[in-house]
Every structure is written in structure tokens, then in C-alpha cells.
């Protein structure tokens, strides 16, 4: 089998997981341990010096978590993965490896509200300066490039929904600027879109959403695309310079096309500490095995709900790229041909008050701040996830006062529609 390329569903079940070498357990065991016994001092020294592969301490590597890392890297078509405690921790890990104080990165203005906050405030405290560009205008990324630009950050399908990013156009801008393109692929998952095939150099995920898929575990992932030359420009000293943390190792030279993931692990995760629990890794892995089936059903249900809402008298507009008349439909056909995801927004004619009423009236939908659960979820961004933003930022992010966001679950679609029908009535 080794010389045939296995398909996506096979990888979703098998990548990274042979039988457990110690016991023969076929499901990946939960190695719920902090640390690992050394055979002898020579092996210990080789592990600490990065000369041998193996586990020392669960903050850095863990065999359960490693299966998840290899699984997602394989599904994304990357060279290596690094699992961390959350999607936010993944973003921290990536930029910690790329940025020095005073450096800049360019980010799309259509992002998850939590990312906008993280970039605008917490990262500014590190001296990492975000410069905003318009997702719908790739030229605005080029216009934002300066001597200090170190990366470009976008979401493939942008939260709170409905927006499809032209990855190839923005990748061209990144290549011209000589900086890596980082794509948050949380909303699409590699089942719908594989950003590395469209020019991304790094992919990040909140595994908390569709990849885990059951609303039970936080997690994040960094995937190394293996494509970027970290040495050529001299702008990425974490990768291209001798590292005092490891007696002068040069990470890119030593680890080649998976050097970025190694740097995020041994320089970032080791010192920043946002490790994933092996138990969470196990739960997320169980979710990944059914990712193709779940995403297909999520998309099928979402399209049916979007079409129904589109004809509803209380609804001003529906923004779902799967709808034929949607402005992003063409981009969706290119980047997410199997479906436009399961998270989208619609606007109520009754504005802010109608949005609050809708989230207060649902019975089957859960009113909460998450997406990508088996359960259908609803939120009114203006009063919750995006409330810290200015009105201008809210509108730019697609989270104006009349906007309701749905994450369509795997229930019977008739029941999903019936619940919305009663919540929007009157």
C-alpha cells in the first residue's frame, strides 16, 4: 500500500496510528503521563539535544498527541503538525516563531472576533504589530507590506461566516513580499479546503470546532506546509540562526522542510507551555475519524437551512456561499467545492432586538459561543463574541446589530428548521 496515496477518509482513520507497540491496542491509547523514563544517560542526552526522536515530557511531546499531530498534518498535506491547547495558542505559537518586537504582520479584517482581539491587544503587548487589510481586496495586502512585515494571516472560510477568501490571490502577495501565508482553516477543515494546495505556508486550526466536532474538547494545531525558505531572507532568526537554547543548533538547516513545526515545538511550546492534554487529543482523534462523514452532513443541512431562511419573511438577507446568488458563490466553487461549511449568518429585519429575541426563543438550537458541534448552535455576535469591537469593526467583520450566526449541526434538518421557524415567528 505504501506506494499508493491513500484517500482522505483512509487518512482520517489511519494516519499516524499503527497498533500500539506495547500492548497491541488498536485504538490510540491515552498516554496520560507527564514524563517518560530514559533508557540511559546517553539516550537522555540525545533526546534533550534533539538528536534522537522520542518523548521526554508531555509539555513538549506525547505519544497520544503525536498521533493527532501526524493525522492532521497528513490530512492538510503538510510536513508536520504541532498540537496545542487551543486555536489561540496555535496563533501565539506561530507568531512567536516568526516575530521579533517591532515586527508587523498583515491580517484580514474578516476574522473570528477572538482573533481580532488577540491581535489588537495581547500581541501588541509583545510588540507584534498587526496591520489590517481587506479580505475582499487582495491588493490591500500588498499595499500594507513594509520592511517589518513578517507574515500574512487570513481565514479560509471566515468567521462569523459566509466569506470565502481568495487564497491564491493573497498567496501571490505573500510570495511577492517574501513572507509566509498563514491560513486559519478551522471553519473549512481539510475535508472542504486544503490551503497548502492553494499556496499557504502554514495552516492553523482550532480543533475545538469541526475537527473534534463534538463540542467536548479544546485544542489547536499548527501545520507546517514545508514550502517556505526560512533561511533566504534572514528575517526569521528563530529558524535560521544558531539557537542558544540548544547549544547552537540551526533549526531550519537541521530539520529541513519540517523545521518550522519543530521550532514551534522546541522553542515555542517548550517555553510558552500551552500544551494539549493527551485526553483531549484522544477525544479529538475520535472525532477526526468521522470528519468526512460529518462535514458532508453539516454542509448538506446548512444548505437546506440557508435556502429555507432565504425565503423567510422576517429575514432581510442570508450570507451563505453555498447559495447560488451569493457574492462568494464563485469563490466557494473554487475553494470549497464539496460545500460551503456549516457556519453562516443571516440578518433580521427587526435588527438588534429581533436578534436577541431569536436567540432567546430557540429550543433545539443551543445559545452559546462555539461552532462546529454535532448540535446546532446560535449566537447574536453583536451582543456576545463581537461586542468588544467598535460598530465599524463589527460591520467590517460581518457582525452588525441585525446579524445572527448559526452553526448547523447533524440533527434531522426538518427539526432544525422547525425550531428556527418557531423562534422567528411573531
Amino acid at each position: 500500500m505504501s506506494d499508493n496515496k491513500p484517500g482522505f477518509s483512509t487518512l482520517a482513520i489511519h494516519a499516524g496510528a499503527s497498533a500500539d507497540p506495547a500492548t497491541g491496542a488498536r485504538a490510540t491509547p491515552i498516554y496520560q503521563t507527564t514524563s517518560f523514563v530514559f533508557d540511559d544517560v546517553d539516550q537522555a542526552a540525545a533526546l534533550f539535544g534533539l538528536q534522537a526522536f522520542g518523548n521526554i515530557y508531555t509539555r513538549i511531546t506525547n505519544p497520544t498527541t503525536a498521533v493527532l499531530e501526524e493525522r492532521i498534518a497528513s490530512l492538510e498535506g503538510g510536513t508536520a503538525g504541532l498540537a496545542v491547547a487551543s486555536g489561540h495558542a496555535a496563533q501565539l505559537g506561530v507568531l512567536h516563531t516568526l516575530m521579533q518586537p517591532g515586527d508587523e504582520f498583515i491580517a484580514s479584517n474578516k476574522l473570528y472576533g477572538g482573533s481580532i482581539n488577540q491581535f489588537n491587544h495581547s500581541f501588541k503587548n509583545f510588540g507584534w504589530n498587526v496591520v489590517w487589510a481587506d479580505t475582499d481586496d487582495p491588493a490591500s495586502f500588498e499595499a500594507a507590506v513594509t520592511e517589518r512585515t513578517r507574515a500574512i494571516f487570513v481565514e479560509s472560510l471566515a468567521n462569523p461566516g459566509g466569506i470565502v477568501t481568495d487564497l491564491e490571490a493573497i498567496s501571490k502577495m505573500a510570495k511577492k513580499a517574501g513572507v509566509p501565508l498563514i491560513v486559519d482553516n478551522t471553519m473549512a477543515t481539510p475535508y472542504l479546503c486544503r490551503p497548502i494546495e492553494h499556496g499557504a505556508d502554514i495552516v492553523v486550526h482550532s480543533l475545538t470546532k469541526f475537527i473534534g466536532g463534538h463540542g467536548n474538547s479544546m485544542g489547536g494545531m499548527i501545520v507546517d506546509g514545508g514550502s517556505f525558505d526560512w533561511t533566504a531572507s534572514g528575517r526569521y532568526p528563530m529558524l535560521s540562526e544558531p539557537r542558544p537554547e540548544y547549544q547552537g543548533i540551526v533549526i531550519h538547516e537541521t530539520f529541513g522542510n519540517f523545521g518550522f513545526a519543530i521550532a514551534c515545538r522546541v522553542l515555542g511550546l517548550r517555553d510558552l507551555g500551552a500544551a494539549l492534554s493527551p485526553f483531549n487529543a484522544f477525544l479529538i482523534l475520535t472525532g477526526v475519524e468521522t470528519l468526512p462523514l460529518r462535514m458532508a452532513k453539516h454542509c448538506e443541512n446548512a444548505l437546506a437551512v440557508a435556502e429555507w431562511l432565504n425565503g423567510h419573511k422576517a429575514v432581510e438577507w442570508v450570507r451563505y456561499a453555498g447559495l447560488k446568488d451569493d457574492p462568494y458563490h464563485e469563490l466557494a466553487n473554487k475553494y470549497v467545492p464539496k460545500g460551503a461549511g456549516a457556519v453562516f449568518t443571516f440578518g433580521l429585519k427587526g435588527g438588534y432586538e429581533a436578534g436577541v429575541k431569536a436567540v432567546s426563543s430557540v429550543n433545539l438550537f443551543s445559545h452559546l459561543a462555539n461552532i462546529g458541534d454535532t448540535r446546532s448552535l446560535i449566537i447574536h455576535p453583536a451582543s456576545t463574541t463581537h461586542r468588544q469591537l467598535t460598530d465599524e469593526q463589527k460591520s467590517a467583520a460581518g457582525a452588525g446589530p441585525e446579524v445572527v450566526r448559526l452553526s448547523i449541526g447533524l440533527e434531522d434538518v426538518d427539526d432544525i428548521i422547525a425550531d428556527l421557524d418557531q423562534a422567528l415567528a411573531g
Binding site: S2, D3, S18, P21, Q43, T254, A261
Partner: protein
């Protein structure tokens, strides 16, 4: 051999078969990639022999260093080249003068010389270029997954365990 894309079976058969490996350009500097590869190959039970004229007569990681491949007192199964692509040609010429001939000439990640490779293949020597035997061994035995690296290998079988807790090997004759 198509040197753009090696089948796993080709790499596996080489790493399964060779025992004596001359590491040409091995460094005694503990943070150099050549030192990493030398110590890893030694830990997997290969008779890895550093070749470095500046270091001849002194050991690297416990293995005695030779000034040239011709000075080595035992037959060499594989020559692993830590030189740049241009300099690799000279090493290949030198290797093809050996009696007996090596079975394999391996050029490290980033090293590729198609003319030299053709010469070696014409002499019946198998060639691998732009790959690292440490990475390939760790990929095929499964150890590389501990670092989150995608191995590209799908297998429902038990990894081949070696002595100690965290040491895998490449099982002889195994075909996944």
C-alpha cells in the same frame, strides 16, 4: 531510478540491507546535522564510520574517523555524502574506485548530482539523493511521528521495537 520520487520500498530495502556506512564529511561538532545523523545511525546498530581528513585517527561519537574511504579497513555497504552537490561528484568517483564497490551511494538532503548518480548506477550501485537516512529511517520505523512529522506510512501492524523504551527499527522483509 526516478530520483524525484523514491518508492518507500526502495528506501526501506536499502536501509534494511546495508550494515557499514561511511559518513563522508562527518563533523565532531555536536550541533551539526552530520553529527546528528552519525549518532542516530550508530544508535540503530549500523557500523557508521566517519570520514573526515581533518579528524583522522580521532573518534566522533565513539566511532574512529578515517581520512578517506580508501583507508577504511572493511568493506563499505553505503556511502553517505555530507558535501555540496558539486563536491559530491568527487566523492562518487572515489567510491567507485573501492574494491569491493559499495552497494549504495546516498547524498544528503539538499545534495543532488545527476551526472554522478548516472555514473554510479552504470556501475550497478543504487543511488539516493536529496534525502537524509536518519529522517528516512525514522519515517519508515515510525519514530518520526513522535515529533508530529507526517510519515506518509499507513500501517495497522505493530512497530518493530528494539531494546529499551523508545526505540523502533525497520523489520526485515516487512512490506506495508
Amino acid at each position: 531510478m526516478n530520483h524525484d520520487d523514491y518508492p518507500d520500498a526502495y528506501i526501506r530495502s536499502i536501509l534494511d540491507e546495508v550494515k557499514t556506512i561511511a559518513v563522508v564529511g562527518a563533523s565532531a561538532n555536536r550541533v551539526r546535522p552530520s553529527y546528528f545523523v552519525l549518532t542516530y545511525l550508530l544508535s540503530k546498530g549500523y557500523d557508521a564510520i566517519p570520514v573526515n581528513p581533518g579528524r583522522a585517527g580521532k573518534p566522533i561519537a565513539g566511532a574512529m574517523t578515517y581520512a578517506s574511504m580508501a583507508d577504511i579497513d572493511r568493506p563499505i555497504d553505503m556511502v553517505d555524502i555530507f558535501r555540496n552537490s558539486e563536491a559530491a561528484a568527487g566523492v562518487v568517483h572515489e567510491a567507485l574506485e573501492l574494491d569491493p564497490l559499495p552497494k549504495v551511494i546516498w547524498m544528503q538532503l539538499g545534495v543532488r548530482n545527476d551526472e554522478a548518480a548516472a555514473l554510479a548506477e552504470a556501475a550497478g550501485v543504487r543511488v539516493v539523493m536529496d534525502r537524509c537516512p536518519k529522517i528516512e529511517y525514522a519515517r519508515l520505523c515510525g519514530e518520526i511521528g513522535w515529533a508530529g512529522v507526517s510519515s506518509g506510512v499507513i500501517s495497522s501492524r505493530k512497530p518493530a521495537m528494539r531494546e529499551g523504551y523508545q526505540r523502533f527499527g525497520i523489520a526485515a522483509g516487512r512490506r506495508d
